[in-house]
Amino acid sequence: MKHTSLLRIALRFWIAMASVFSFLVGWVMLAHSPKPVANSASAVAPQAVLVGAAPTLAPLPSLDLSSNSNSGGVQVPQLSIQQPSGLPGQAPVFTTGGS
């Protein structure tokens, strides 16, 4: 029993010492690491690579709901497709047999 108790105390001591040591090592590493500088080129360049230039977007057209004649409900923008007749599709099959 006495032997087990000594081992337990030694283990606790070792964990406490390892924790303190790790804390101190971390402190020293952070203290010696380079600090960020707001206007330096080396700091801006990686940021530019990651984010990229923001595209210039045209302003969105406003939804003018007041001009729509339908009363009530959601208004849907209308598309105008002009075709003489028929719908876009596959080529027709032609027939020849004299006329």
């Binding site: 003489p84 876009p88 027709p92 032609f94 047999g97 004299g98």
Partner: protein, 314 residues
């Protein structure tokens, strides 16, 4: 693919085209061209340029550049086919009852048969052309019918016009068809050759690249005259509707006018003349439905037409 259907030149016309922009405008322009050309070259309209030329036979007459082009082409094909293609058969066509449009014949019947006049018929070679002065003189009593070649010419020009608005297009007038380009969603253009005895049946199915197709048939444009069946294909050698050994001939050719002329000449010429005629134009491929219903084709000519494949369902 956008399409436009209309009735012109006494037949149904189908225009088809695909492309980015302006296809609709192209279809409308092609339609306007076809309708305007019909008014100029129809022999059934008394004020058309062809009717005016016929009325002035024996005198020099100034003609349009387009009519001159057609007449010069006709003279060339007259010589090339040994006279089997002959636009001066109009008097014989009228005697056979085709002196009015097919619509009128269908509704009111054909006129009675008239004996041929004793005087010798003027030879088409006697037509005089002055290309510099753009003048033409038909021999006295000659009347010409540019029907077939004019239709082919109009279809070809309409396709060229439509091609300017599209990436691929087709123009068909009663089975005279010109294809330009290739449709985006398929390998080629599909054409069915119909059975002359049963138009609901297909005797050949073709898949074609850019080319032209025309069919001449004795089964179409036929009528009764004095108890006899008459049709519109006049044999210039007899001045009578041809007693053909075939019901129809379809020709695939690089150009529409050649297809139109040779479909007619190969049908009128019969089996005896066909090898001689075909040897003059090795680039042509033709398909014959004989009078007994059997089929004869020229697959050996297929190498001269780009992308020709055909199926033979019988």
């Amino acid at each position: 693919m956008q399409t436009l259907e209309l009735v012109a030149m006494n037949t149904s016309v189908l225009l088809a085209a695909e492309g980015q922009n302006g296809v609709a405008s192209g279809l409308e322009a092609a339609q306007a061209f076809i309708e305007q050309s019909e008014r100029r070259f129809s022999r059934f309209l008394p004020q058309s340029e062809v009717s005016c030329l016929n009325q002035s036979a024996g005198e020099w007459r100034i003609v349009s550049q387009e009519l001159m082009e057609m007449l010069v082409l006709s003279l060339g094909y007259y010589h090339e086919t040994g006279g089997l293609f002959d636009p001066s058969i109009l008097p014989a066509l009228k005697r056979a009852g085709y002196d009015r449009s097919m619509n009128e014949i269908r509704h009111h019947g054909a006129s009675a048969f008239r004996e041929a006049p004793q005087s010798a018929r003027a030879d088409f070679r006697q037509i005089e052309t002055d290309t510099e002065g753009q003048r033409v003189r038909l021999p006295p009593s000659m009347e010409i019918d540019l029907g077939g070649i004019a239709k082919g010419w109009i279809v070809e020009k309409a396709a060229t016009l439509l091609e300017g608005y599209s990436t691929a297009c087709a123009v068909s007038a009663g089975g005279d068809i010109v294809f330009r380009g290739s449709p985006r969603d398929s390998w080629g253009w599909r054409v069915n050759i119909e059975d002359p005895l049963d138009p609901s049946r297909v005797v050949w199915g073709l898949q074609l690249g850019p080319c032209a197709v025309a069919t001449s048939s004795v089964a179409k444009r036929s009528w009764q005259q004095g108890g006899r069946v008459r049709h519109h294909l006049i044999d210039p050698r007899t001045a009578e509707p041809v007693a053909a050994d075939a019901l129809s001939v379809t020709v695939v050719s690089p150009t529409m006018v050649a297809a139109e002329v040779y479909a007619k000449a190969l049908l009128i010429g019969g089996e005896r003349e066909r090898p001689r005629l075909a040897s003059r134009r090795p680039e042509l491929v033709y398909f014959v439905v004989r009078s007994d219903g059997s089929l004869v084709g020229t697959p050996t000519g297929a190498e001269h037409v780009d992308d020709l494949h055909f199926t033979h369902p019988r």
